[in-house]
Amino acid sequence: MLSYTLRRLAGAIPTIFIIVTLTFFMIRLAPGGPFDLERPIDPLIMLNLQRAYGLDQPLWQQYLTYLGNLLQGDLGPSFARRDFTVNDLFAAGLPVSVMLGGLALGLAAVLGTFFGTIAALRQNSWLDYTIVALATFGITTPNFVVAPLLSLIFGVILGVLPAGGWSDADPRYWVLPIVTLALPQVAVIARLVRGATVEALRANHVRTARAYGLPARVVVGVHALRAALLPAVSYLGPTAAALMTGSVVVETIFGIPGIGRYFVQGALGRDYTLVMGTVVVIAIFVVVFNLLVDLAYAWLDPRVRYD
């Protein structure tokens, strides 16, 4: 298991290298540049700007410079936010995004599994239909509707929680963003777990467990749940990476200083280093969580072997 993990992590290095190369050339070949304004700048100033950021060198040389800096953990200066390096921006924003995303993920996993299992156990009862209907509602409502609604209800009308803004120390500011992030995931996980539990409850190993006379709580909670979690675990890997690297919508609406906004801003403003930095961070998250998913698979399903 340990050697598998190490091999996977070693195997991730070329993956990240390919991603970095691909994005570097894709964003550079896209039309437009970081200093293109509505009003054209004086050519001499433009030349000086480009020299200051090393944009006057040939592309391959810039690429090598970037790779060299990346290996030392230096993501370079931001083009649009002068006086900030990309490292500074991430050092400030990443902890916020990871914390919010992680809490939302935990909430979603626990609630989703709980509701999904309950629905499957009471298949085709009113409880099942209610949970499926609510889950459908959760999936169908976009977060840019949920976020203003929650902010309106709890922040403005009831006045129990802050309508927006951020504080590292005060958890009351975290509640609405976490709920907004978690709601659709609760719904998806509940549906996946319900579908898989319905199948698992009819599976041979569960019938055998019942025939042994094991208590229902063990049959469902251990034998059926293990098999039923597989699709949800597959789903959770990429979702975890997406949640922890921040959400543009939630950060914009609640005014949270996370890193979710940087990507869209960077790509639209051709802030090359910011885009590259975001891509590297997201890539690392995706690689790590996909590895965790595969390890969880082997742990949940004894038929899956990695050797």
């Binding site: 991603i19 994005t23 459908t136 169908t140 597959s234 990429p238 543009v248 890539a283």
Partner: protein, 370 residues
């Protein structure tokens, strides 16, 4: 003597599934709802008296009602206004049905027949008809009142919500279906092949998925839009091209546990080809989870499109989609709730129907349900 209780021919998996699906009332009802909504999306905008892009400046943000606009109390003031512009004076106007007529009284100069233009240009009235007396000083003016119905109200620019919702259904269903079909085909083929073949091929194939997955969706879309210009086709492609990755991962996971099952080993022992095992044994057994995932995928594609619209990268005005309508409605929900409720309910109806249809399909494809 033949035994009447035995069926003459055996039923295939699909015939069997079809029979079971027809018995599932929720699934049949959902299929009907989806069919009706699809027809509304295709033909509704053609039959609607309004175009989705027509702006009625006088009817900005009017609430939903079955009453015709202009309202009864607004017709006469509107007519007075036009009369003043045309510098006409007359007796009390008489409204009969949709025809409004007035006896014009004499002014200082003869009445210019071109005054009818003022009424032609007005949004309230049309077909003005002027009958002048011999001397041209008096006469009768008759105009038609343009009655407009905005059953679901209008948006901030004064466009009919009903027509816009119907266009939204058309665009959203098209995006959801095309993107999901694309994701379905690529994802199942890719995931099943990788999971079944295993080993080095699996490693390489899933590494490619990892790489593509790590390129964030928005990045991909922005680049595509920058390179190829903004269009609906690019949005289909971008959504389809990102959604198959999830599908491939789920299918691979299922295949990994399927391929160790006895029936696959039995097929291998009987000398079936790998291709045959994949298409005859692995893929049909994958259908359960895959169908459930597709019912989640269509709404997801619709919602992704709305996220793009929220960021200003999606469908462009005056074209619209349900997601775009909802995001516009969410901004106006305090003053004009109907702008949010109409599209949100429509989207919810579509997604509910998709979900129940998907559940029905899953139950009917499950051979253990017999």
């Amino acid at each position: 003597m033949t035994d009447a209780t035995l069926p003459a021919v055996s039923r295939s998996l699909w015939q069997d599934a079809w029979l079971r699906l027809r018995k599932n009332r929720a699934a049949v009802a959902s299929a009907v709802v989806l069919a009706v909504l699809a027809l509304v999306g295709i033909f509704g905008p053609m039959l609607s008296p309004h175009s989705h892009a027509t702006i009625y400046q006088q009817y900005v943000r009017v609430a939903p009602s079955f009453e015709a606009y202009p309202k009864a109390e607004d017709i006469l003031p509107g007519f007075e206004r036009e009369m003043k512009r045309a510098r006409l004076t007359g007796a009390e106007p008489v409204l009969e049905g949709s025809r409004l007529s007035v006896a014009l009284t004499a002014g200082e100069k003869p009445i210019d027949p071109r005054v009818t233009r003022y009424f032609e240009r007005s949004e309230l009235f049309s077909a003005p008809q002027l009958d002048l007396a011999e001397d041209g000083m008096t006469g009768t003016l008759t105009v038609s009142v343009n009655r407009q119905y905005f059953i679901l109200g209008t948006d901030n620019l004064g466009r009919d919500m009903l027509t816009r919702i119907m266009i939204g259904i058309r665009i959203s269903l098209a995006i959801g279906l095309l993107a999901s079909v694309m994701a379905l085909i690529i994802g199942v083929a890719w995931g099943a092949t990788a999971g079944y073949l295993g080993g080095r091929i699996d490693n390489v194939m899933m590494r490619i998925v990892d790489i593509l997955y790590s390129l964030p969706f928005i990045f991909f879309v922005i680049l595509l839009l920058v390179f190829f210009g903004r269009s609906l086709v690019i949005i289909f492609i971008a959504i389809g091209a990102t959604e198959w990755l999830d599908m491939a991962r789920i299918v691979r996971g299922q295949t990994l546990s399927l391929k160790r099952r006895e029936f696959v080993q039995a097929a291998e022992a009987l000398g079936a080809t790998r291709r045959g095992i994949l298409t005859r044994h692995i893929v049909p057994n994958l259908l359960g989870p895959v169908v459930v995932f597709v019912t989640l995928l269509v709404p997801k594609a619709i919602l992704l499109e709305s996220l793009l619209s929220f960021l200003g990268l999606g469908v462009q005005d005056p074209m619209t989609s349900l997601g775009l309508l909802i995001s516009e409605g969410a901004q106006n929900m305090r003053g004009a709730a109907w702008q949010l409720i109409g599209p949100a309910l429509t989207l919810t109806a579509i997604l509910f129907a998709l979900n129940f249809l998907g559940d029905g399909l899953r139950d009917s494809l499950d051979p253990k349900e017999r």
